[in-house]
Amino acid sequence: MATKKRPEHYGPAHIFYNDEEAQKYTTNTRMIEIQTEMTERAIELLNLPPDKPSLLLDLGCGSGLSGECLTDLGHSWIGIDISRSMLDIARERDVEGDTILGDMGEGICFRPGTFDGAISISALQWLCNADKKCHNPVKRVYHFFETLYASMKHGSRAIFQVYPENPQQLEMLTSQAIRAGFGGGVVVDYPNSTKAKKIFLCLFCGVTNISMPKARGTDVSQNQSVMFTQRNSRIHKRQKSIKKSRDWIEEKKERRRRQGKNVRSSTKYSGRKRKPHF
């Protein structure tokens, strides 16, 4: 489980991401690494035409970490964020795209059919909170999706990396997106790992019958429901292998593989005892 409290619980985004927090966020190399990785995955899911410059929308662009990835790939982008401190850092960092101070829940203020795609990294869960008395999260989420749908080109995609607090929240986001006209669903990368698990909401604008992109870290043969039955059956048998035995090592390796970690393949030497030395 999470050891730290979720940042959404500390307060609204524009207050939580003050100067200090924004600076922390942008100088922390681990943050940068994770953000970059997730952005690259989101761009992959966007499925843009190769080698052509596109105009993208970055929702919750923050200090422009994700935007820099877009620039590196030759795309232009416009970013929206609610935190002025974050945008000020983006200015200091000299990012390529234009940035706008705005609240996603108030709607996307762009002309219809403007963008070739939209990405959003770790931002959407903030919309699920009511930070003011007048806020109604469901209404805000719907209004956001509705206006986003309008501002995107026909046939484009919007990819949201989210940290939902609970399954209900994800369900709410998906159902509101579908209500607003989007098609699509959820892609979960590395579902068996607590750390590497990443949830992407993939929304398609105006096209139906698209097969969902494949998630990473899963086998085709075993989807999640199968996984659960397997686990249950193992509990019933409850035959744990002897520690340090070859079977035990194999099981451990398999588990690590499912979590998307780099695991050495087994050889005839795996799990063997060393010769006694004099």
Partner: protein, 131 residues
Amino acid sequence: MRVTRFLKMRLMTHNMLTSHVKGVTNGYPLILEATETNEKEIDFNPEFIAKMIPRIEWSALVNAMEKLGKADLIPEEVADEYENDEDFLHKAHHALLEIDVIKGNLVCPQSGRKFPISNGIPNMLLNEDEV
């Protein structure tokens, strides 16, 4: 040492922004009131510009350029075969990407609501009663 360039709002972004105040039916184009602008060179990418032209409301761009007193830098109409018209694409590139608004206001044409631009960042946040 890194040279810090001001973050900017380019005219391309202005061309795509609309007013989203509650009750406004025709919030486009936003009237541009610039008090501080900046120009800088950006690499010319004809493919990107040609792709953007159909999405640009040309009359709004001409209007914005007039407001900045640069109407002579831009043709009044989109050229017929703009994909191959190098001169036209260069002019469009300059108008769309190389002119930054740093300070000023965006004014909603219907309600007159002002969205201030400071440091090149337009503030599109609404008040509670405008959502």
